[in-house]
């Protein structure tokens, strides 16, 4: 197997994931546009007008809107403006993985010991990622175009290919940047953290400029700004040659510097080393009492991770809540039948209802994904020998199952509490009156959903550890889409009821104790299956 093939293989899972997930997103957006935008010029114009009002509030997230009465304009704004962030995130993880992840696993030592040069190694990793990124983007664009064709408004192939080029070049720039950052630090986690913060800052820089804040020529530093200068799918738009060339040259420069840094540094070491510190030897166990406390020991081990989720969700909560008034004003009075029906079926008649529907549906999805990440950790505990080490202590397998699930619920409680406080403070400061009691109940009711996911997740881990994450992730995402699209496309209620989130109900407006009881019952059933599966399984296989 050649180095290039190895590089392709290392991106196999992420290629499949991004290609499938983003294709589904593209398909839903293109079909969705055809469904809601209307089929005559007057309806389209009205739709575009309503969407522009909304788009003006979303300039922190999405590009400036243009030609929203067309499929191409809508997709350029709504879909490609989102997809580029996801591709950048993927490139960030792939770049740090290629720069440090392989090294942490000892693979770089192995490859270099076979006589492969460092230059060739990085070139192969870059070529591998460039190839899979091209495949993923091409597939996503093709499926999106299928959706557009179903909506009777196919996208022209030439401009679509140019959109792909713009997306691909930005993805490679972020990959090269992450690869360079990985040369400066010693762990993949640090590299991902630092590169992620810088990429976020560059994104926000462009977002600020879009929102009317004068950032001057500094905005040219943001690859997202350079990407958005290309609008090949719009009428009169084109690929911005200067911006795209700038991105390509940036990628090249970053790669060259990354290669030079990789050639210069020690394997396992950073590019720059500080002066060695005074050695201090520690012979005793850590004094942290939480590490010796059941359940809290697991929470304590993940304190940074939990804090990051809590903070991230708090920021998102604050942002979504801050846009509530303008969104409801823009869409709630809409003359577009589909949107009016959506608001009616979702029970949105006041700002507080909108917070209840939009925030809690988003929170449910994100908390479920948090649980999925925990389930991934449980599977890794087994594969990486930690479970074996824990079981060498006098600890029953049942205790491990129960402690893990309890720890997830505690961690979710922390994340939910922090983000709910953010919602409440933002709502109060923007003049939205939230019913305090109901809001607390609605926040607390998220925990049975987390418990149900954790129970199912542990049952799956006990049965098929390697497939658990994929299956549970699919349950979460499919459930979210079922819940979101049922009112939008006026699907029958049973589609919505397939979603676990349907059992959460609408606690901001009415009590649904049977739904919550069902969620707890699902969690209990999952726990019971997990206990049996854990008891029966062979550890490490």
């Amino acid at each position: 197997m050649t180095l290039f093939q190895l590089a392709l293989r290392s991106h196999r899972t992420s290629l499949i994931t991004t290609a499938l997930a983003l294709s589904i997103g593209g398909l839903l957006n293109s079909i969705g546009f055809a469904q809601i935008a209307g089929d005559n010029p007057a309806a389209r114009a009205l739709f575009a007008q309503q969407m522009e009002l909304l788009a003006r509030q979303l300039t922190y997230l999405l590009p400036a809107p243009a030609q929203l009465d067309t499929m191409a304009g809508y997709l350029t704004w709504r879909w490609f403006g989102s997809a580029v962030v996801i591709y950048a995130f993927w490139a960030l993880l792939a770049g740090t993985g290629a720069g440090r992840g392989d090294e942490e696993r000892g693979l770089v030592d192995l490859w270099l010991s076979t006589g492969v040069s460092r230059m060739r190694l990085i070139a192969a990793r870059l070529a591998g990622f460039a190839a899979v990124a091209a495949i993923s983007i091409a597939f996503m664009l093709a499926v999106t175009d299928v959706g557009a064709a179903i909506g009777q408004e196919p996208l022209p192939l030439g401009p679509l290919a140019l959109e792909g080029v713009a997306l691909w070049v930005l993805t490679i720039v972020v990959f090269a940047f992450a690869l360079l950052v990985a040369q400066l630090v010693t762990t993949r986690r640090s590299a991902a953290g630092i590169a992620g913060i810088i990429v976020l800052v560059l994104f926000m820089l462009n977002a600020a400029a879009r929102s009317g804040i004068d950032v001057g020529a500094v905005r040219w530093l943001s690859p997202f700004y350079l990407y958005e200068r290309s609008t090949p799918l719009l009428r009169g738009g084109s690929l911005d040659i200067a911006a795209t060339t700038s991105l390509a040259v940036s990628a090249l420069v970053l790669l060259v510097v990354a290669v030079l840094a990789f050639a210069r540094r020690d394997i396992g070491g950073p590019l720059f080393r500080g002066a060695p510190g005074k050695p201090r030897v520690d012979w005793r166990p850590a004094r942290d009492p939480l590490l010796r406390t059941p359940v809290l020991a697991i929470v304590d081990q993940q304190r940074v991770w939990i804090a990051a989720w809590a903070l991230g969700l708090a920021v998102l909560a604050g942002f979504l809540t801050s846009t509530t008034k303008t969104t409801v004003d823009a869409l709630g009075s809409s003359d577009i039948p589909v949107l009016r029906a959506y608001f009616e079926r979702a029970g949105i008649t006041a700002y507080a209802d909108f917070v209840g529907v939009v925030w809690f549906s988003t929170l449910l999805l994100l908390i479920s994904l948090f649980v999925v990440a925990q389930v991934n950790g449980w599977a890794a505990d087994d594969a990486e020998g930690r479970l074996e080490m824990i079981l060498s202590a006098p600890v029953s397998r049942a205790r491990i199952v129960i402690e893990r699930i309890a720890a997830v619920v505690v961690a979710c409680a922390v994340v939910v509490a922090v983000s709910s406080v953010a919602v409440y403070i933002t709502a109060t400061s923007t003049g939205i009156s939230l019913p305090g009691g109901r809001f607390v109940v609605a926040s607390a009711a998220v925990l049975p959903v987390a418990y149900a996911f954790a129970g199912i997740g542990h049952a799956l881990v006990g049965w098929r550890p390697r497939g658990a994450v994929v299956v549970l992730g699919a349950v979460a995402v499919a459930g979210y889409f079922a819940q979101q699209f049922t009112p939008l496309f006026q699907w029958p209620d049973w589609v919505n009821n397939l979603s676990l989130y349907a059992l959460y109900g609408t606690p901001m407006s009415k009590d649904d104790r049977s739904g919550l009881a069902t969620l707890i019952a699902i969690g209990l059933a999952g726990t019971a299956v997990a206990l049996v599966a854990m008891r029966r399984r062979d550890v490490g296989r």
Partner: protein, 293 residues
């Protein structure tokens, strides 16, 4: 003497001949038992069965009078364990790992940890991912020895240790043994077993080949010898040396497996011009090839 470990027909069948089959074995209390075998012979599978980490296809194992599978939890209070494959703890500090496992065990004091850490010269303040393989192995040894258990089940315990710390490990074994601990040590290195074990069991391709006292191993003691001559080797005289087996001649080079007294071999070599002489401990697989032929 009572049995610390007793297995009867213990079998774990992974299919295609992999696993351990019909293992009947007894290890007495206070004994240091070596479990020898080449890679893939079934040593780790046996140890995981004893630790209750995997379930037997058939047969049973009794440890300190309790069922190894059913009573795994109470048994662990009395067992120290070193896994064959070291776990990954990423960015945890050594001190955090020890605190976490100590919290689960609840039978190890900070002073006990400190004593073993000092003996092994293991800095617990560093992150696990920064540890060398040898330091990770030391941490596993610390976790096994610090609680002072009555039985230690160690899977390739000296893997990655430098000779100095191998000696320290032998010292830990001697001290634990002096207070009556029993050991079940797997290894594929003959010399390691010779250092500490009273009795050995030899496993090959999933089956127990033999169990015996350490001195019975003397018949297996062998060296892989390679000799390079300046001229043509005295082949007939070499083939006549007692204990020199599996002799292969290629141009000016002679190689083979040598057992017994070196005197006759050196006498033959003294009359020839030797440009290179190498003698090393063979792998168990090499020994088995000769021993069981």
């Amino acid at each position: 003497m009572t049995s610390a470990i007793s297995t009867r027909g213990l079998t774990k069948d992974y299919g295609a001949g992999h696993g351990i089959f019909d293992l009947d074995l007894s290890v007495e209390e206070g004994e240091v038992f070596g479990f020898l075998g080449p890679n893939g012979a079934g040593k780790t599978t046996t140890i995981k069965l004893l630790m209750g980490l995997i379930h037997a296809t058939r047969g049973s194992a009794t440890i300190l009078g309790l069922d190894a599978d059913r009573d795994a939890v109470p048994l662990k209070h009395r067992i120290g364990y070193v896994p064959g494959e070291l776990p990954q703890f990423g960015g945890w500090r050594g001190s955090e790992i020890v605190a976490y496992i100590a919290g689960l065990r609840r039978d190890v004091t900070d002073n006990q940890v400190e004593a073993v850490a000092k003996r092994l010269d293991l800095d617990l303040g560093r992150k696990y991912r920064e540890y060398s393989h040898g330091n990770k192995q030391k941490l596993a040894l610390l976790l096994a020895f610090a609680p002072k258990p009555g039985l230690l089940i160690l899977d390739e315990p000296t893997s990655g240790l430098d000779p100095l710390h191998q000696q320290e490990f032998y010292g830990l074994v001697r001290d634990a043994r002096a207070r009556g601990a029993t050991f079940f040590i797997s290894s594929h290195v003959l010399s390691e077993v010779e250092h500490v074990c009273d009795r050995v069991g030899i496993v090959r391709e999933g089956h127990l080949a033999t169990v015996g006292q350490l001195d019975q191993l003397a018949g297996m003691r062998a060296h892989r010898v390679e000799i390079e001559f300046a001229g043509m080797p005295p082949i007939e005289r070499i083939r006549g040396i007692p204990g020199f087996e599996q002799v292969v001649v290629a141009d000016h080079r002679v190689s083979g497996m040598f057992r017994g007294d070196f005197e006759p071999l050196l006498a033959v070599l003294a009359s020839s011009r030797v440009t290179k002489f190498e003698s090393r401990e063979p792998s168990l697989e090499e020994i088995f090839l000769g021993f069981y032929k």
